[in-house]
């Protein structure tokens, strides 16, 4: 049982006339059930990488394997039932006239018979808590609800991995929190592998691993803790920021990165 995603030394450039690669030497693996955050400045190649993973772009060099299958023109259709994607703009990926029509769209593409479609649509709407909204048209939904429908659409195809391309950026904080909660649930209880391209350091700090891109190359792969310790330009979550402020004030604080639990535990120890 190998990793669910294997990226082997891929190179990609948009402008085929030059030798300037937008992405070069990208290699990493993702295991089933992991939550991986991909971070980096605008222009570092994050979006490009996400599109390569789902076959919207083809690498100039190197190979991508999904569930052991090499991604190419022939296999990409099959692979798209394993790996799905949720884009940034909640409206511009909502294809159906109602919630359930949108979820069914992918199933129609696979020519799945009606009875099976109905079952899957019901199932996935339940998973993302959108059953009550099944007949709503998108103009009645919030951004967060539309993104949940997008997740349901990928789940309907029985995707095991979903790539989120800055999918929370256009949402208000409340929608964002609800959506992250839904995702965490799917990740923990249904083993959904999550690859999330994000700017949100709070979200990244809760992932299993962080991949950092800089100018088209991987500059770091490791745990969130390692990332925040080694890269001072990353804004860590509040508990760690607090520790650093206290450190500056000359107070006795742990030498190491802490999260909220560790902060509270340490406060207990002191008192």
């Amino acid at each position: 049982m190998g990793p669910i995603i294997e990226v082997q030394d891929i190179h990609f450039r948009y402008d085929k006339r030059t030798q300037d690669y937008n992405l070069s030497g990208i290699s990493f693996t993702v295991n089933k059930g992991e939550w991986v955050s991909i971070i980096g400045h605008n222009g570092s190649g994050k979006s490009t990488l996400s599109r390569l993973l789902v076959g919207l772009l083809t690498p100039d060099l190197g190979m991508i394997k999904v569930n052991g299958i090499e991604l190419n023109e022939e296999t990409k259709w099959e692979i798209r039932t394993i790996i799905g994607m949720v884009f940034q703009n909640p409206d511009n990926q909502f294809l159906g006239t109602t919630v359930q029509d949108d979820v069914a769209f992918g199933l129609e593409n696979l020519n799945i018979p009606y009875e099976e479609m109905k079952k899957r649509v019901d199932n996935v709407l339940e998973l993302v808590s959108m059953t009550d909204f099944r007949e709503h048209d998108p103009s009645l939904l919030s951004g967060g609800q539309k993104q949940r429908v997008a997740i349901a659409s990928a789940l309907a195809l029985q995707s095991q991995v979903i790539v989120f391309d800055e999918a929370f950026v256009m949402l208000d904080p409340k929608s964002r929190t609800e959506l992250l909660q839904t995702l965490r649930n799917l990740n923990k209880h249904y083993g959904l592998t999550v690859i999330s391209i994000t700017h949100d350091m709070n979200e990244a700090s809760n992932s299993d691993r962080i991949i950092m891109l800089e100018k088209g190359k991987i500059s770091f792969i490791g745990t969130p803790k390692e990332a925040f310790i080694n890269y001072s330009e990353l804004t860590p979550p509040l508990p760690e920021r607090l520790r650093r402020v206290l450190l500056e004030k000359g107070r006795k604080v742990p030498n190491d990165y802490i999260n909220e639990e560790e902060l509270v535990q340490w406060l207990w120890k002191l008192n």
């Binding site: 605008n42 950026v169 904080p173 700017h199 607090l242 402020v245 206290l246 509270v264 406060l267 002191l270």
Partner: protein, 287 residues
């Protein structure tokens, strides 16, 4: 220039086809002092965006009056006055980069001033000034808006409003959709305009962190009414209000509340940022 904003008993609704919507603003009274910096918060549908639109006549009051400095907005207003008000009240909508349309950045920035009768040469001069105000290079002026990044486009859109030399700046979620760095830059830009040029500034936000970090005064809207208009700090000191109006606390305050619960203590002052939290921990002797 004295540019107070006053709303007296303003109610408004929207005409949708042959029907009228329920009141989106319900008997609103408001006074905003010249040069102040005020945030507007409230749940979706509370009337925040509509409140902003009454300030430049995009939404006419059904009842009541809106006063912008010496000008009065009501159903009887004449076109010339309305146009003058639109020059005085600079309005930046959500995702303002979607309104860019001209071939070059310079032309787009000049659109506003030209509409208000400024000569082309004068408008170009202004464009060159404001492009630096928003932190962009002069070379951007000759580029097409489409060639810019999202953050740059937003700054060009804001420049287009600043070019009208408004006395009042009204912004609807100016940081929406930007990465944390971009958001910080925009917020700092707005704060600078307010401090350096005394521009009365009103901004709608959903972000409690921004509210805690940058703003002093806040208006809370609930179901078309203004339910609170006072300091940010006092609002966060009152958990009942925060929950009644469907708001949230900034992270630092949430963590502080959690620590209060865990250790059964009460902090004498609330913390809205990590610095304040550090100080309050020291204050109670936990650290």
């Amino acid at each position: 220039m004295v540019m107070e904003i006053k709303l007296k008993h303003v109610s408004a609704d929207y005409r949708v086809g042959p029907m009228r919507s329920p009141l989106i603003l319900n008997n609103v009274d408001l006074q905003i002092k010249t040069g102040s910096l005020t945030a507007v918060v409230g749940h979706t549908g509370s009337g925040k965006s509509s409140l902003l639109k009454t300030m430049n006549g995009l939404l006419m009051p059904k009842e009541g009056n809106v006063y912008i400095g010496p000008y009065e907005i009501n159903q009887k207003i004449n076109k010339k006055e309305l146009k003058k008000i639109r020059q005085v009240v600079g309005m930046v909508f959500q995702f303002p980069e979607s309104q860019l349309f001209a071939e070059t950045v310079e032309k787009d920035i000049c659109f506003g001033p030209l509409n208000f009768g400024v000569s082309l040469s004068e408008a170009k001069k202004i464009a060159s000034e404001v492009i630096e105000l928003v932190g962009l290079d002069q070379s951007i002026l000759s580029k097409s808006p489409h060639a810019l990044s999202g953050g740059q486009k937003r700054r060009v859109a804001i420049a287009g409003i600043l070019a009208m030399k408004p006395d009042i700046l009204v912004l609807d979620e100016p940081g929406a959709g930007l990465d944390p760095e971009g958001k910080k830059e925009i917020m700092n830009l707005i704060l600078r305009q307010n401090e350096e040029f005394n521009i009365t500034t009103i901004l709608v936000t959903h972000d409690m962190e921004d509210l805690a970090r940058y703003m002093k005064d806040v208006i809370v809207m609930d179901k078309g009414k203004i339910v609170y208009h006072d300091s940010v700090r006092k609002l966060f000191e009152n958990p009942k209000l925060v929950s009644d109006w469907n708001l949230d606390f900034p992270e630092a305050r949430k963590l502080q509340l959690k620590i209060e619960q865990e250790f059964q203590i009460r902090f004498p002052s609330i913390a809205l940022t990590e610095e304040e939290l550090a100080n309050s921990l020291i204050e109670v002797g936990l650290i």
